[in-house]
Assembly symmetry: C2
Homo-oligomer: 440 residues x 2
Amino acid sequence: MKPKHAFPTTAFLLSQEDIPHQWFNIVPELPKPIDPYISCVTGEVVTADELAPLLPGELLRQEFTDESWVDIPDEVYEAYKLWRPTPLRRAVRLERALDTPAHIYFKHEGTSPAGSHKPNTAIPQVFYAKQDGAKRVVTETGAGQWGSGVAMAACLLGLESKIYMVNVSYNQKPYRRVFIECFGGQVVPSPSPDTAIGREYLKQDPDNPGNLGIAVAEAVEDAKGRDDTKYVLGSALSYVLMHQTVIGQEAKRQMEMAGEYPDVVIGCVGGGSNWGGLALPFVSDKMARGLGTRVVMVEPTAAPSMTQGKFDYDYAEPSKTIPMMRMYSLGVDYQPASIHAGGLRLSCVAPICSVLLESGVVEARAVAQMPVFEAARIFLQAEAIVPAPESAHAILAVIDEALECRKTGEAKTILFNLSGHGLFDLGAYDKFNSGQLENA
Amino acid sequence: MKPKHAFPTTAFLLSQEDIPHQWFNIVPELPKPIDPYISCVTGEVVTADELAPLLPGELLRQEFTDESWVDIPDEVYEAYKLWRPTPLRRAVRLERALDTPAHIYFKHEGTSPAGSHKPNTAIPQVFYAKQDGAKRVVTETGAGQWGSGVAMAACLLGLESKIYMVNVSYNQKPYRRVFIECFGGQVVPSPSPDTAIGREYLKQDPDNPGNLGIAVAEAVEDAKGRDDTKYVLGSALSYVLMHQTVIGQEAKRQMEMAGEYPDVVIGCVGGGSNWGGLALPFVSDKMARGLGTRVVMVEPTAAPSMTQGKFDYDYAEPSKTIPMMRMYSLGVDYQPASIHAGGLRLSCVAPICSVLLESGVVEARAVAQMPVFEAARIFLQAEAIVPAPESAHAILAVIDEALECRKTGEAKTILFNLSGHGLFDLGAYDKFNSGQLENA
């Protein structure tokens, strides 16, 4: 006689046949259009021709398309099947730990091979580079999540990859470097002697700690100098957010399986790609059907572009190669404090996020490092998953919402994106556990 | 118009309702009985009373039960739901890379919160300790997989945990230590000043690198000295293998979903628990239905207990607290080389594995470290999962079988257990990638 275990279902799983066949493009539905991108060279509206030597042609087309849906190519779809669909889970143990009537759900993008949502766009970007005849892709990486995704994608699709990794992270996160190398990627600390701009920085200071701006500049120089090479970019552009919408499309179906619809949708925001991936399909619902869903972007107080920045034209990175965009920005020379959520240390945010925030469709808040790690601990001890410090920003906002529900007695449905695991961030957790973390 | 993506299904996923409700105990079906355990103190057949101060009562009952099925308690089942059922995947990209007609399937136990199969037994062991009134569990850990599982289980069930971690691993794998601490576990390098036996070893050599035997002895001394504490053990005993059979029970259903039955079942073996978890339900089939299924245990040449050891009574560990068992052993003082598959560095193997091997129902082979890492690389570059060095022993045997199929043209169905991910083993991969790994 088998015992009965009548616990509520906490995992909502789709089959491989349920992986979305198209990406969702919110751009045509935005309440205000994205302002034209301005060439940093000509000062005029940028042309596709100007960017073509750098970026794959199909991605340039996607950036400016007014189609609402873009087909996912076969080869990309087949690679997605290595880990997608990702699970949607209800965090019942977290609910219990918080003693809240709220229902808390999370989409677990940390189950991808690279440990985050990044491969959702790394794979199509490498695919389109290959389609343009490239044998090689280059990019920059800070904390290493994006570099890991690109190296893995290049390995799966048979291209070479070279990753310019910010020098300080290269030394702090040796496991990220090794992970990239396992997939055949070449990693160099940036600034590197491999580019003219890198040599310039090294001449000034051989121990230059580097930053994302320098690393972008090196990768761009590399790609411009070689016919066989394309540059791939992990955040901010509209096609990046579009590729990530496989997350939200799956989550909508999974919430239906759970028999609920979120009252609040939450994600952490650096450039905006993981947040956009989860949230944009719900934002579309909200605008089309006039729903009261609250959609929240959570940024670090160390890089408060949305809560402290200006909505205006600015450079996205200091090499001034990527066109100027109108967006929330702290200024391209803003230097965020060295928080452990390296993926959130950006001076600006995607034009899509900016327009939605400016229009009042979504909201933004900034949170500090120490309460973020405290929230991470509550979550991991309840749900047994170590979250990436980036994702823990979303978790803090979720916990605040859930505690508010405890006060008011409302049983709100909260959905957030667990954009990555923190298994390569245990150095930061060690500092936190031993009381040495600073509240940057 | 949506595009059609007509690729074969490569993931076979069960729902939470499909988690097995019982563990499978193969002991009553073994072709020869397990010989009685002999007390290291009295030299007589050991009694439950003798072990009761150390181990939870229900586990002692399970060790000697002749029931074929044991119910999984509610609280254990609910914790399993945090990650079970685990996926069964078909490695089509690996098949393609090897150009083999073989069909290769793997059960992915690396998706658990601790990154391996260990929580499958850590959770029930901690649960039964709690049921006996314990407030605290203690154990040893080598590479850190077992310690991670125990700390996580204790955290989920509200107990304290203390982990005696082999000194050399404590220093080599800081992320494992931090992972344990994130779950509130206390970790000390062993030998430690916290026990009499630890102090003894430290007096001889303050920099003693430690070994599993010393760590067991410290944990046992700790548990014996405190009424509120039980000792938990990660391998070799029959109840450990029984708890792991959730793996094989799920895999059988998932192979049915795939419409295949394995011709060969493969797992790596240290003490035998991950192998047993996957294989024993298939071994039962084989014996009951006279199937030709080959069931293969893969051990390292550095600790070849099954291929070089003697089948006889021996001590399981040098503190001589755990009763003597009749099993394949290299002798309790055997010192395996420092291979990176720490979980396979054991001098002996579970009595269940020993009896099945001695009876010719299953087979064993030993493989060396260098080809193991070469196999790991082939797998990870095809399937985008970094395997634990332990699991890579199974992968090497799988690749050999698949290449044999390429020669013969046979389309064999091969099933193996991917017992854990290697994200905390990237130090070893770094050595391999840079040509510094020794072929121990």
